[in-house]
């Protein structure tokens, strides 16, 4: 299981949890499991999210491996100018 920190405005769609547990080995599985377990998160996931794994922020990288003890933080899709 991986512990995933959600940003504040998503917690309402995960029964108020700041951290949720999902079974995932990589970025894609993480998003799939989050959407299945907490369907209310799906609209945001579809609009776009980034995932910080052990401090590094990834966008779209489906096969980024996630270890069970990794620090995993769901973030909005990173944008820049």
């Amino acid at each position: 299981m991986v512990a995933v920190k959600l940003w504040g405005s998503l917690r309402a769609f995960a029964d108020g949890h700041e951290v949720v547990q999902v079974e995932a080995r990589n970025f894609r599985e993480l998003l799939d499991r989050l959407g299945e377990t907490w369907p209310g998160l799906k609209p945001q996931i579809e609009r776009g999210v980034s995932v910080a794994v052990d401090g590094l922020v990834y966008r779209e990288a489906w096969f980024t491996p996630i270890k069970p003890d990794s620090e995993v933080v769901l973030m909005p899709y990173m944008q820049g100018g």
Binding site: S9, D54, R59, M75, P76, Q79, G80, G81
Partner: protein, 756 residues
């Protein structure tokens, strides 16, 4: 993945300052910008724009315009196709394609003063202008709103219906499309532990990127549906994707070539005119050139968000921040966006806080669709935060730099937006500022000194590079990102470094969309990091092939060959004794040893590494007029490894200058009718050289562990601290806190007079 296990720390080319490769073309006027491209039989296009801030389009009659001699095509939104629900990453925002399309030519409603309604292609600019006057648009004018706070109130005129995301609380105006919240810890306990709590409200105006070159393009579509497009853009691949969808084309049939670019700063990540020019060319059967006027650039292309913000921070007498919160209300104009996410995440990122919370909302207003502008969303939020920290320091009689050091985020800090920081350079940057003579220089009457920290994320993204070894021993690098900040130099330098050849042997060009695989937009301070990394990998690919050729020439195993200082050499005691084969020698016989030699790399780069900066500003405020003169300005920034220090300093100086403009003068001013009052550089005042002192740039080089040379992005962080650095300096000089940007002379004078 970007993490590289072949770190290189001894450099021969990287870190030097060779002449810029685009310099001669630019100073001799040979560089081809967007408006410089022409084609035989070319028509000239002009766009009809809304005179209303908000109105329903009841009808558009183009018949008289079409009948005018010399007019070859007229288009409206009816000439664009359906695009479904596709969302595309375009600079600052992941925008629905339908919004981009409807911003290019209004569909059903005009949403701001200057919104495009129709376009004409004619044999001359004069005929096109005359034709615009013959287009009859029947409007029903609607109530409008241009202020973010007014737009959020229930009962405000609704700009677009049905766009509210599920996260937004009920009871707000339908203009409030997006809500976000970040942070951790117990705010109540944190504020209770403070010796002093300061809570202030701030506003910032929308500002324009102010690039010298207006948007321009040339579109040429043939009868068989193939098209070529030349345009000034920060991302030709995204132009292709968007235009192909809107025009109903296959991407392979549209080739987009990016011109030389006369400034972008994020504002040329968006698409405004290219689909219009293509639609006109398709209809007319001739090439069509479309160049915006400056008035159009201001009215219809990307300013930043305008904001209204509340910040509350608690601090102990010895300068420890006990809790911090902010409420950010951003408006990115008439279409939904989530820029406030970036501001909310960045607001407190410089600090190690046990209790921190940021709440953010986006509201629609009848203003042009926001475009990215360097570190989108961050300068505004950090301005408010750094202003309150400075006020706390003043009231508690604390040194503002020491307070920032005491609270600085460092390796192991849980950031205010969630992840735990790895190696970051904030403390080193603050220490460099602390040790700099600027901080100890005396100040005179009516003078003040302000400091501010700043932060930006940086990112990588999709990248593709090809590197060809030419038979004369030179190297051609083909990359796909328009060069807005010196990337051709830095990429060529990294190729030279890796291959072990002089920089002068390498030429880097920016490819069109048909010549190289996809590259994300030039944004997010990504290019030197991501394209540089891909170039290093492509060079290593070519090196491997050259070692293989050398092994074949020598008749030894390729594993027994290594690459050192630009040449293949036998490696190890059993490899045999052979004189080194240089790159040029291997290239010269490449046709005989297996054919041309090239390296290639494509990937989705991650691991960009966040960046921090600290700025110190000295100003003098005229107490009689409220005018501010910037006396001295120093920028300290963690660049990771500075590949070409001239360009890095230029980025830092440029960010500071643009930020000074935001802080002191620049703003979109709307009349009661919702129309923009200052759409030109006479009335929208950007800083010019005579307004400014030399901007001193101090580069810190804390290596990014996600890049083999330690490179971080440097393009955006520099614009984050100036707003608060200036505001804190002006507030100390004037003896009264300023909380509204820009700090134009009338506003500063009003503040001075109000203190009595």
């Amino acid at each position: 993945m970007a993490l590289d296990n072949q770190p290189k720390r001894e450099f021969k080319v990287v870190g030097t300052r060779p002449p810029r490769p685009d310099g001669v073309d630019k100073v001799t006027g040979r560089a081809q910008y967007g408006a410089d491209v022409s084609a035989p039989g070319m028509l000239v296009a002009k766009i009809l724009r809304s005179p209303h801030a908000h109105a329903e389009i009841l009808s558009i009659d183009t018949s008289a315009a079409e009948a005018l001699a010399g007019v070859k095509a007229v288009v409206t939104s009816r000439d664009f196709g359906a695009v479904g629900d596709t969302i595309i990453d375009i600079g600052e925002d992941s925008s629905p394609l339908a919004d981009i399309r409807d911003n290019c030519l209004a569909r059903g409603k005009v949403l701001y003063d200057g919104h495009a309604v129709a376009a004409v292609a004619a044999v001359s600019a004069e005929v096109a202008k005359a034709a615009l006057k013959l287009i009859k648009v029947d409007y029903r004018v609607l109530p409008h709103v241009t202020d973010v706070d007014a737009a959020m109130k229930p009962g405000a005129p609704v700009v677009l219906s049905g766009r509210v995301e599920e996260t937004v609380q009920r009871g707000k105006s339908e203009n409030v499309t997006h809500y976000c919240e970040f942070g951790h810890g117990d705010l109540e306990s944190g504020f209770a532990a403070a010796d002093l709590v300061v809570e202030r409200s701030f506003t910032t105006a929308a500002t324009h990127q102010g690039y010298i070159e207006p948007h321009a393009c040339l579109a040429s579509m043939t009868a068989d549906g193939k098209a070529d497009l030349w345009c000034c853009t920060q991302g030709q691949y995204n132009v292709r994707s968007v235009c192909a969808e809107i025009l109903g084309m296959e991407a392979s049939q549209l080739r987009v070539t990016a011109s030389e670019i006369g400034g972008g700063f994020g504002g040329k990540t968006s698409i405004f005119i290219e689909p219009v020019a293509l639609a006109l060319s398709r209809k007319a059967g001739r090439p069509v050139k479309l160049v915006m006027t400056r008035d159009e650039v201001f009215k219809a292309t990307g300013p930043t968000v305008s904001t209204s913000m509340d910040v509350k921070i608690g601090m102990t007498k010895d300068g420890r921040i006990t809790a911090a919160s902010s409420h950010l209300r951003y408006s990115g104009g008439a279409f939904p966006n989530a820029t406030v996410d970036m501001g909310a995440q960045a607001a407190f990122a410089a600090y190690d806080l046990k209790a921190v919370r940021t709440f953010g909302w986006n509201a629609l207003t009848n203003r042009p669709k926001e475009s990215a502008y360097r570190a989108p969303g961050a300068p505004q939020a950090i301005y408010a935060v750094e202003s309150v920290i400075d006020e706390l320091c003043q009231k508690l009689n604390l040194d503002p730099l020491e307070v920032r050091l005491k609270n600085a985020a460092k390796k192991g800090t849980r950031s205010s937006y969630g992840p735990t920081f790895d190696d970051i350079g904030l403390i080193a940057t603050l220490e460099a500022a602390k040790a700099h003579p600027h901080l100890k220089a005396p100040l005179g009457p009516n003078q003040g000194r302000g400091i501010s920290a700043g932060f930006w994320f940086n990112f990588g993204g999709n990248t593709c590079v090809t590197l060809n070894i030419n038979t004369d021993g030179t190297v051609s690098v083909t990359e796909g990102n328009p060069d807005i900040g010196g990337s051709r130099a830095s990429i060529g330098m990294m190729a030279a470094e890796e291959l072990g050849v002089p920089f002068e042997k390498v030429r880097t060009i920016v490819a069109d969309t048909a010549s190289l695989g996809h590259n994300d937009i030039t944004d997010g301070s990504r290019v030197t990091f991501a394209v540089g990394l891909a170039t290093i990998k492509a060079a290593r690919d070519a090196i491997q092939k050259m070692c293989r050729r050398a092994a074949a020439i020598w008749g030894i195993d390729e594993e027994a060959v290594e690459w050192v200082d630009g040449a293949a050499r036998p490696s190890g005691p059993n490899a045999g004794q052979f004189p080194p084969l240089t790159l040029a020698e291997i290239a010269a016989v490449s046709f005989q040893t297996g054919g041309p030699i090239a390296g290639h790399h494509e990937f989705n780069a991650d691991g960009a590494g966040v960046s921090f900066g600290v700025h110190i500003a000295d100003v003098e405020v005229d107490p009689d007029t409220g005018a501010t003169k910037v006396l001295r300005y120093t920028v300290f920034q963690d660049a990771g490894k500075a590949v070409h220090p001239d360009y890095v300093e230029g980025q830092m100086q440029g960010g500071a200058v643009q930020g000074i403009g935001w802080a002191l003068n620049e703003e979109y001013i709307y009349g009661a009718d919702g129309r923009l009052q200052n759409a030109g550089f006479l009335d929208y005042r950007i800083p010019v050289a005579s307004d400014l002192p030399m901007i001193d740039a101090v580069i810190l080089e804390i290596p990014n562990p996600g890049h083999p040379y330690g490179v971080r992005g440097v393009g955006e962080t520099g614009i984050v601290p100036p707003l608060a650095a200036l505001s804190n300096a002006v507030s100390r000089a004037a003896g009264v806190r300023l909380n509204r940007l820009p700090m134009s002379p009338p506003r500063v004078l009003e503040a001075i007079l109000s203190k009595g």
